[in-house]
Point group: C2
Chain length 348, copies 2
DNA sequence: TTGTAGGCGTTATCAC
DNA sequence: GTGATAACGCCTACAA
């Protein structure tokens, strides 16, 4: 085919040396304006594109960051990727996506890809067993940022972006208490999910603040965050003696399932049961009753993670000052939590 | 820091020459088994990783493919990315993600990133104005595959993977007709969406097959695929004189909105109104009534696209044999379309 | 089968 | 401000 046009061709076309062409791109301020524009027009004419490979080979930082998430089909993970992509684009970086390795072989492959491409940094949503992964990154000298990690479990040395789910849980339950409810049912996901435990802690705090005993928080545990489990939880809720009048679901899918079950049983939301959900705007508005929702800022998690990654190399060599950002979730009030008087009082 | 360990170090450690080490990776069959294992163990000991940059610079194909989608937060686009990532992983390729450029500047930036990284190929979901983009790729000699494109609008020279939405529409409406319905309301999205028009065509075919006049298909057009527009469509549906008894929504979000409106008006699905939706499994099961749904195989679209990309270079030089794969959507029957007798007849 | 040497396109360093 | 030159790490002939 046609031989690739390189920096040498541009230099010849513009009547300058290779070094000057390189300077036009990398240190524009050092080149005379006239020369620069001559070079630029030669670039245009010849359709020259820089070779990222050669740059990196020569020792430059690569312009690739990697994002490793549990599941590319999960809406929340998606918003992480979305936020990362937006911010990366702004910074002139390209984004590679990977799903979290499931076994050692997988992990080795992923790590291999990351290191061979010499990615500039990695954004990870940590799993139970991602420690060996981050250790390997550290060994390889690849910077990384944890996204949506458990703030306590702590990789205390690592940069991270987390969501303050304790505050989130508190906000949600406070809102219900403000609505006049006195007992709240907490529908949680799998026990081991740190984020869920934190929301529970926040919920307890809120009750304690108004002097309610711990027993005012009834709990139902779901083995998974799915609509089906939500329905099951709904059935258990209905069977509860002394049924609470308010509900805090720690996941949109659970909330949707509960809602289905409640309405089949003839209970009305919010009149017979107030409901606060947690998660994503789309799911919340897809429900048959618009859901009041604790929104977790996934996009911002992603974009902030990129910013941390970019800021990290600026730190002094060997210094341990990992920035650990914690974002606060927002409570978006919709109809599912507002009954009668309370609703009209605040204008809904 | 520590100097990078290169092929030379491995060679020294293993007591062979650089060429042999290279051969171990690139043409293993040409190296003696004993030598090979000696090299491999040296690699292990030293923690050697190949430099992708050097490989590519030397003229090898890069191991990166790019996926360009409209919106990284859109569930369907996500399934495309997911499918692509899975297949790419199998093939030892890394995946870069981009969102479709919105203007010329954006497009130039995206193209620049693609060409500078010398990606091996690109997967695109075409937009109204993506022709200049594909043209530029062609000029740059970067192979690409169209994903979920309009099979008619035809980039006839390009590889593509599409969904046969005509058949999809036919399947959906045939199912409703099988249920005994005789008039069907078609709730479509924006007119210019090729996929929607095709589903409409399929719906008409189904009616024609049972001898129903074209007027048996009532149509409501929605300006966007959102829950809110679905509610609006629901209101219009309720106001329709001579209201049909069956409904085909060309999008899950629309279906969810319609469903909300119908149940508020006291209509029961499927008893008073049968409903077939179209899209994604999660949304369908999140509805208050499980939705019968025309499933579009997004993941397979993505993985097939990668396969086409990999197969393309095998074609003879200059030959025009773009493979254009068309996948058939599946109708998944759930409760929303099955009333009384019909339901029990097929075991629901 | 193994070893040797040249060059891929850049950038940094230096002398001008 | 500009021009020449030497790496960066690998792959592929080609020679042994």
């Amino acid at each position: 085919m046609k031989p690739r046009v390189g920096i040498a061709d541009v230099a010849r076309e513009a009547g300058v040396s290779m070094g000057t062409v390189s300077n036009v791109f990398n240190r524009p301020e050092v080149v005379a304006v006239r020369t620069r524009s001559r070079v630029l027009s030669a670039v245009e004419r010849l359709g020259y594109v820089r070779s990222e490979s050669a740059r990196v080979l020569r020792g430059q930082l690569s312009r690739i960051i990697a994002v490793v998430v549990h599941d590319l089909a999960n809406p929340f993970c998606m918003t992480l990727v979305q936020g990362a992509e937006e911010e990366a684009r702004r910074a002139g970086l390209a984004v590679m996506v990977y799903t979290s390795p499931r076994d050692a072989v997988d992990e080795a492959r992923c790590l291999g890809s990351l290191t061979e491409h010499e990615v500039r940094g990695v954004l990870i949503t940590p799993t139970d067993n991602s420690d060996s992964f981050t250790a390997a990154l550290e060994r390889a000298g690849i910077p990384f940022v944890l996204m949506d990690c458990d703030p306590r479990h702590g990789h205390p040395q690592a940069c991270s972006v987390a969501v303050d789910d304790v505050t989130g849980g508190r906000l949600a339950v406070q809102h219900l208490l403000d609505g006049g409810h006195r007992t709240v049912c907490f529908i949680g996901g799998p026990q081991h999910l740190a984020q869920v435990e934190q929301r529970r802690a926040g919920a307890r705090e809120a009750l304690a603040q108004v002097g309610q005993p711990a027993s005012a928080l009834r709990e139902l545990v779901c083995p998974a965050m799915t609509v089906a489990e939500g329905r099951e939880a709904g059935r258990r809720l209905l069977a509860l003696p002394d049924r609470p009048t308010a509900l805090f679901c720690t996941d949109d899918l659970l909330a949707l399932g509960v809602l289905q079950e409640l309405s089949e049983a003839g209970l009305r939301v919010p009149d017979d049961m107030a409901l606060v959900s947690c998660g994503d705007i789309d799911y919340a508005s897809a429900a048959s009753v618009p859901l009041t929702s604790l929104m977790r800022p996934g996009r911002m998690l992603g974009s902030t993670a990129v910013q941390l990654l970019e800021a990290a190399p600026l730190l002094l060599e060997g210094e341990h000052d990992p920035r650990q950002v914690v974002l606060t979730p927002q409570l978006t009030v919709r109809r599912s939590s507002l009954r009668g008087l309370h609703a009209s009082a605040i204008g809904y």
